[in-house]
Structure formats: C-alpha cells, structure tokens
Assembly symmetry: C2
C-alpha cells in the first residue's frame, strides 16, 4: 500500500475501450419492446431519435467497444479522473476502514455526465447532425451536453423544467456560456408544450413534459437528434470509463475494494463505477459488495416492481423492463433532482434481479449531514445526489469500526455541489426535512403499468 492521497493516471492510460456488461451477464437482458406492438424494437424504430452508431451500441453484445480517438482526445482535458484516499474522513470517523473515492467533479461541467455527452455529441456530429435536443432537470446533464456541443460545433437545445429554469439561473447561465439555448418547459415551441400550457398556463413543468418536448423536436426534424443522459444501455456503456480507470488506480494504490458504492437515479454513475468490477467477478474474479444508493423518497430499486414500463410520463418511449415506481409516480420535491426518476436503467435492474448488487434507500437530511462532514474533512462540497453515496460510505466505515474490520470502501463522488448551494442553505437553516412518498400514489402508479404479455 502506498502513502499517496491522489492516484492520477497519465493521459495514455485513459481507457481505449468501454466495457459492456451485457457480454458477461449470466442470463440475457429482456428485449426492449415497441410501445404499440409490444414486439422487440429494431434499430430502425430508434432511427428518428439517435444516430446509428449509438443504436448499435444500445444493442451491442461485444465485451469491449472502442472509444473513438477524437473522444479520447476530449477526455484528456480532465481524464483520467483522480482516485482519492479520504484519509482525513477516515481519521474523523476513527474507522479502521480505508475509504477511496473516484472524483468525477473534475470535469468541466462538474459531474460524470460529460463522459457520455462527449461521445453522444461526437457520433451525432459524424452522422451529419447539426443540432441536439435534450431535457434537463437539476441541470447537470444539460450543461454537460452544452459543453460537448460547444467542442464539436453542434447547436444544443435544452428544455429545462420551468421550476428549475426559474430557480437555478446559474445552471442556465452555465449552459448559455457553453453556447446552448435553454427553453423553459413547457414551452410554446412544441405541440406537447402548447397542449400543456393550454390546460395549465402556469405549469411548473416536469421532466416528463421536457422529455416529450425534446423528443418531439427531434422526431419532427431530420437534422435534429435527441440525447439522453442516463438509463439507456449506451449511456451505461460510456460511463464504464470510470470503473476501468478505478481498477487501474486501485492497483496503483495496492488496494482492492471490498465494498463499491454509487448513488442511483437513472443508474449511470453507479453503473459506470460498478460494472467493470462486476465484470471481473462474472469472469471468475472475487465477489465484492456493490451497493446502489437511492433516495427514500423515490426508491426505485428497494420499493419498485420489476416490469415493463415507459421511460417518460407521456408514453412516447419504447417499453423497457426495469425497476419502476410507475411512470405516473410523483416523488416529493427533495433536493437531489438527479435522483428523481421513476425508473432505473434496464442493465442496473437486471443486475439487481440477478442478485449481483445490493440497494439501499436514504432520507435526505442524513445525506446532507454526511455531505457537510465530507466537505469539512476532504474539502469538496458534494452534489446533493452524491451525498447519498457519501452517507453510505460513512455508514459502511462506521460498521467496520464497530466490527473492527479494515475493509476497503470505494465510492463514486459523481459531482460537486457548486450549483446546488441553495440545498445546503436550506439544510443549515433547518428547512430541509426527510420526505416520504405517497403510498396511495405509488399504488396507483404501479396499478397503471402497461399490460405486457410475458
């Protein structure tokens, strides 16, 4: 074991391939179904929305897929991301455990999201696309795609949920600094937006509505494609660069994680860190505990059902078999906007069904408490989403203390909280409370799942 704090790889050690867990799953994933016919979708069904290279990645079964050189060249701006030993946090906890975190907040947009925004922008550019449309809630994804678009000369149109557009002007400013155009959703620029506004002129918007607007714009214009920042298989694939780097960095540190932790909304930062380690296990390596942490107010894995469901509230998307709370489920307004999604990546759900990963749900006040302890020991203020992983890492380290075990804990610090300080203000002012979802709403949402023959 070395005595370093940071494990930083050279640029030539940026992985040359993404890792595809599909190749190593012991049983294949259920197919994605057409929303009308309930038959497996083919590449042509997805063509209006995505360029063919991404569609092929969505259904790929090869274990490794090469990262294009121009994409790796952009990654050199901030990757390899550091693996950091949280020695001061360990000392503050008095734990015999070793705590490492992979820090993805070093990216220009401040989170792991550019790991997929850059290749998505690149493949679209290669396909002759001029413009991308997308939605954003918390703003991490919108600013990442805006950044990627600026590098490849693509116009980026971001439908930002109205309430976020109004309450987070600095996130919007970041997107505009990168040259993107932000539109408050619901907007008058699409049929779906106008339909909502006709009924509810003061609608605060929702991710579901914003997705509908972004998808509509892409579906109606051959020069515009749609980009999604989580959930889909190709997004999980792109994020595996995190875990591929972390495997090398753990070797540098002379250490091997016993517990691997990531927060999970759509599942991409969790999958990015965990899947390469899980692949090692499925190919004969040792078993590690792998924990997905979700908000108690939106507990997709711990309380949802494994079933076919729509990815959006307007039911425009294909049907994916996943852990879901039902596409009409309305989580309460907690602060980790990036974790407020009714469903979960099909790949993460499949791994959970196979018993390959654990899941845990946390209330937000304890997460912010962990975030503040982390900031005061390690200096970095975590994004509200990432505080869920911090909370779990601290709890595991305290368990090690109780049990007198010196396990090695690795978690993904998916982003910094520089654009989320209002949540910390609310926490300090005691305005942040734990929140439960509405049981009746959940029951209704689950009862409304589409009937799909087995």
């Amino acid at each position: 074991m070395s005595d370093q704090i940071k494990y930083v790889l050279d640029e030539e050690n940026i992985p040359k391939s993404w890792y595809n867990l599909t190749a190593d799953f012991p049983t294949p994933m259920p197919p994605v179904l057409h929303p009308g016919t309930h038959q497996p979708v083919g590449p042509s069904d997805l063509e209006p929305l995505f360029p063919m290279e991404l569609i092929l990645q969505e259904v790929a079964t090869e274990r490794y897929i090469e990262i294009p050189e121009p994409v790796r060249d952009v990654f050199r701006m901030w990757r390899p991301a550091p693996l950091i030993r949280a020695r001061r946090l360990e000392q503050a906890l008095g734990t015999p455990a070793k705590i490492y975190f992979k820090y993805e907040g070093v990216s220009p947009a401040g989170s792991h999201k550019p790991n997929t925004a850059v290749p998505q922008a690149w493949y679209n550019k290669q396909a002759g696309i001029k413009k991308l449309s997308t939605e954003t809630g918390a703003g991490q994804w919108g600013s990442s795609l805006a950044f990627a678009g600026s590098l490849f000369g693509l116009d980026v149109l971001v439908f930002q949920v109205r309430v976020s557009y109004d309450q987070k002007p600095y996130r919007r400013a970041l997107m505009e600094t990168y040259g993107a155009r932000c539109i408050a959703s619901p907007s008058t620029e699409t049929d779906s937006g106008r339909a909502i506004l006709a009924k509810t002129p003061n609608s605060p918007g929702s991710l579901g509505i914003a997705i509908s607007e972004a998808v509509e714009v892409a579906a109606k214009n051959p020069d515009i494609k749609y980009a999604l920042g989580s959930v889909l298989n190709h997004v999980m694939l792109h994020q595996t660069i995190i875990g591929e780097e972390a495997i090398k960095q753990c070797e540098m540190a002379g250490d091997d994680p016993d517990v691997i932790i990531g927060c999970a909304g759509g599942g991409s930062n969790f999958a990015g860190l965990a899947f390469p380690f899980l692949g090692l296990q499925l190919r004969g390596g040792r078993k590690r505990r792998i924990i997905a942490v979700e908000p108690a107010a939106c507990p997709t894995l711990t309380r949802g059902t494994y079933a076919y469901d729509f990815g959006d509230t307007a039911h425009l998307t294909p049907l994916v078999k996943m852990h879901t709370l039902g596409s009409t489920f309305m989580p309460p307004g907690f602060h980790a906007g990036g974790l407020r999604y009714h469903g979960m990546s099909g790949m993460v759900s499949h791994a959970y069904e196979l018993g390959l990963i654990e899941a845990r749900a946390y209330q937000q006040v304890g997460c912010f408490e962990a975030g503040v302890q982390f900031a005061r020991t390690e200096g970095i203020v975590p994004a509200p989403e990432s505080t869920h992983a911090v909370r779990c890492a601290i709890d595991e380290a305290l368990r090690c203390k109780e049990e007198g075990k010196s396990e090695t804990i690795l978690f993904n610090l998916s982003g910094h909280g520089h654009f989320d300080m209002q949540a910390y203000i609310n926490y300090f002012e005691g305005k942040l409370v734990d929140q439960d979802y509405d049981e009746a709403d959940l029951a209704t949402a689950l009862a409304g799942l589409p009937a799909v023959a087995a």
Copy 2:
C-alpha cells in the same frame, strides 16, 4: 515537445520550499513604516495581529523557506495543480503561439487562495491560536480561510461586505459548509461597525470597513489573530508554489514560456506564478516578458503612484510603499471584486519600479468575451478576475499570429467562476458595460496620500 494536454506532477513533486524574491531583488525593498512614528516597524508592532512565524516570513531575506510537512500534506489534496496546454483555444485563434495555463481552480475553494490560507491557518494553530478573523469581498478568500480552518480545527470569523453577503448567498453557504461564521459588515459586533451603522444604518459596507472590523476583533482578543489573503510579503511567498510547480511542468512539456501573464488585484496570484521565473532571470537566466493585468476601472500599476500608503481605508494598518490609487479611491462597481483594491503588493510594486515586469489595464466587457471563448474551447468557466489574464493571453496569441511568431505564452487561471455566474448572466443580457473611474476622485485620493519623509 510532448503531445500531452495536461502536465500533472506526482505528489512528491509538491515543492518543499517557497521562493522568496526578496533574496534576489537587485535593490532592497523600502521598509514598512509605523503609521504613527513613520519609523520602520519591528516584529513586536505586528504581534497583536499575526503569529511570529508569519511576521518573520514577512521580513525574511532567505531565498528559500521550508514548507512545513503538515501544510504539504494538505496540499496533496489538490496539488500539484495541473499545467494545461490550451490546444483547442490555439486552434480557435489560428495562432502559431503555444498557450499554456496553470489551473488553480482545482483547489477545494476553487482558486489559488488556499495556497496561503492553509499555511496561515497552520502557523496560527501552532502558535496556540483558536480563532481567525478576516474580511471577504468577492468571497474567494473567505471561503479559502474557512476551508483551511476546518482542517486544523480553528474557528473562522468572516466579515463579509454587506452587499456581497446579500447578493452572493452561495459564497456564504460555501463558507458555512466549511464551518465558518459569516457576519455582514458593517456589524454590531465591533466598535468600528457600530460607528458606521450609527451614521449610516443601511450602509452597503466596503472592504475597508470589513478590514477594520476583522482587525479590531483580533487586536482586542489575544486568542484571535487576523489573516489577510493578498498584498503582504508572506502571502506572495506562499503563492510561489504555483510558479515553482510551473517551472517543473514546463520542463516536462519541453517548453519555455516567452510571456508570463497573471491578473493582479493585490498581486498574489500574479506573483505566485511570476516570481519564481523572475528569480531565474535575476540569477542569470534569460529575460521573459512578465505582464500583470489589472482592471481599467482600478488601474493601480498603470495609473497609480508609487508612494507610502495605508492598506485600508480606516488607516489602521502600517504604511507600505506601493503602487496606489490612494486609500480613499472608490473604484466603480465592476464584476471582478477580487481586483477592486486601491493598492498593490509592495513586492509587485517594487518589481514594477525596477522595470522587471510590465502592466496592462483591460475593460471588463472584453474580458468576459475572452472568458466565454475560453469556456467554449477549454471547458472551464473562468472567475471574473481570471478573465483578465485570459484576455491578455488571447491578445498576445493574436499578436503572435500577426507577427508570424510561435512564442510560448503561460498564464495563471487563478480560479473558476462557478460562484460568479451572475456576472456571466449580466454579460449575456448586455447589462455589463465598460466602466471608467472618476478622474476627480483619483486626484483627490492621490492628494490625500500621507506625507512621509523620504
């Protein structure tokens, strides 16, 4: 020349010593004078405010001063800071010049300020001090001292200029996340604050008033010392870690800068990058162009006088010979709050008088234009202060293009702008305008300089 983008040194390459330019100045610096007697101050005059180790560094003449191991250990959290080749910016400009920047925004607080906050907190802790008081305007310094205090278990009291306290709640939240207490200045907690409030109950505050409050608290309580984030010799000393690293990194890159650029308010990030290179020159190395960039609305070097002056508006500090606009000078309210200071570091001023460095003043709109171009090519949104260095680097690169010269340009990107997005919003909305200072105000301020016998 290598083909890398980032030049990242290992932790063991964090410099073991700070470089003291005083040792190599061809003529000695003028002494600091007591405000009452106009005689050179001795260490005991400064003891109520600073611990002895920092006072000794203030007057030190040795070329190298050892960095304590516990301070280096904290630096390992983010240092060595990367040297980055701005290839995409070079391409966008079509320049034959090579542009490198040293990126100090990787620190937890987001700027170069922790380079001095950490040793200042450490020396105070060693001296048995329990609490530090300071002032902050833009907030970079206050959050850096708050961060450093949290690591060493020191209480930190920050007098934040009222208008900044009200307008920048996220900066305040960052300081509070690190455990500091922020007080809007003028406050009812000090005589000087109460005196102001009695006269002007709605006073927006000023850096001068906040300094008076922070100094008063320290002067009246033996357990509390005062900490300053720029201007003083020991602050310049601590920042030389930037340039010491950059010299090694330029060697890694196989390149040697012809032009070195930093923005200058009190002078510390500029000095931090430039002084080690200047030392090489003064010890027989080659001459490089070294440019300090200041705001046209507060042009201390380009329009100020070299004279003895007070560091604060309330005239509590010793007299320092420096480039000054006069301590009563009121710059207009432009956006780079970190550059709104009437004076300049005595060391930087001395170097300027000796003809060792150049100075240049820029208006703010062109600086933000450069900041946006930088963000769209290099991904990082610069702090408003740092955009001055970016503007100058771009202008030098465009000069190289005109002259067909492939010079190497190195600038200090002293911090990111994540907590300054309102300035970018104003820029995009066309509300940002170039601003000139009031000539009559400058004349009055200069006429009011203290009369000090030569």
